[in-house]
Amino acid sequence: MPHINLPFEFPGIRSLFMFRPETATPLNALVQTLLHNPHPSLTAGERELIATYVSGLNNCKYCCNIHGAIAQHQLGNNAQIVKQVLANPDTAPISQKMKSLLKIAAKVQLGGKNVTNQDVVNAGEEGATDIEIQDTVLIAAAFCMFNRYVDGLATWQPDDAELYDKMGEQRAREGYLTAPFKVNRETEDLSTL
């Protein structure tokens, strides 16, 4: 049960956005900018993989599942890449540049001071730009916030993979700013607001 009285029909961060619209606005604008809006060089799928990976490291079920589903839909419905990145980025079918950025993201998850100059030099040698490194650090840092927010208030986090798939497909297509689905807690069926 959530630690505070949250709207019943919305899972994870969506229940928090409904509870406190004042903070939902900048939080949603941040995730839309970081993950969905056009980026100089990282694809939406690559950025969603970073978000998914960090959420996995933080053991946040809702964030890991929903961003994993969004990543899958941003990457041509390829669920295998998401699974392999979560299991071990070093052996996943992603670029060397992405592997070096995920290493930086993992260091940020533990604490900002863990990122070394060598980590950044390595990423540069694999072709990462300064903007890509800056945004990777911020995506990793932002998910250390979102994960703590979602788990710190003990939000409802469904188990049904199909539900995450439908919500993920919607976010990959529409971005983050449109109305969320309502979820029937008994049947886990979705309806539009």
């Binding site: 950044v120 840092a141 703590r148 788990d151």
Partner: protein, 179 residues
């Protein structure tokens, strides 16, 4: 020196990062403004103490010192508050409610799942509302982001606390993103 080349190397801490990337600066500043200066039953001084405490626990010198200076500006307490926050506020009058919310913030700093039902029950006994508990959790979570952003890119920060006095006044009385 920062891990990446910034447009203006003279700007300290998060300021250099915000200046380097205006697209993400806007929501980051709007979030800080809403959390720390927006309408709330917690005073801005109380909220800045939560922000500064979490930043201290994360060992982020720039965020701890600047937000403690902002708290000092709100509370007109003098810059001694910077070291007081490090020590856990032994000589500062702090309500039992704020103490309970600071404990929740400390749990969040270590990881969201650390917050227990008992932590919440204790804060309610001290009069904390659902919105106040929500805001304490989100402020703590947000500073786990800002601190990692500032330190993950190894930004430059002034060392002596006197350098933060004017910054704290501006954060408290002018606001975030209104330079």
């Amino acid at each position: 020196m920062a891990h990446i080349k910034l447009l203006n190397e003279d700007l300290p801490g998060i300021v250099g990062l915000l200046n380097n990337r205006p697209e993400t600066a806007k929501p980051l500043l709007d979030l800080a403004e809403t959390l720390l200066r927006g309408p709330s039953s917690l005073t801005s001084g109380e909220r800045e103490i939560i922000a500064a405490s979490v930043s201290y626990w994360n060992q982020c010198h720039f965020c701890h010192t600047s937000h403690a200076a902002a708290a000092a500006a709100h509370l007109k307490s003098g810059l001694g508050l910077i070291d007081e926050i490090k020590a856990g506020l032994p000589n500062t009058p702090v309500s039992e409610k704020l103490k309970a919310l600071l404990h929740i913030a400390h749990q969040v700093q270590r990881g969201g799942k650390n917050v227990t039902e008992e932590d919440i029950a204790i804060s309610r006994e001290q009069g904390a509302t659902d919105v106040e508990i929500h805001d304490a959790v989100l402020i703590a979570a947000a500073f786990c982001m800002y601190n990692r952003y500032v330190d993950g890119l190894n930004t430059w920060a002034p060392d002596p606390i006197e350098a933060y006095a004017e910054m704290g006044e501006r954060m408290a009385n002018v606001g975030y993103g209104k330079f």
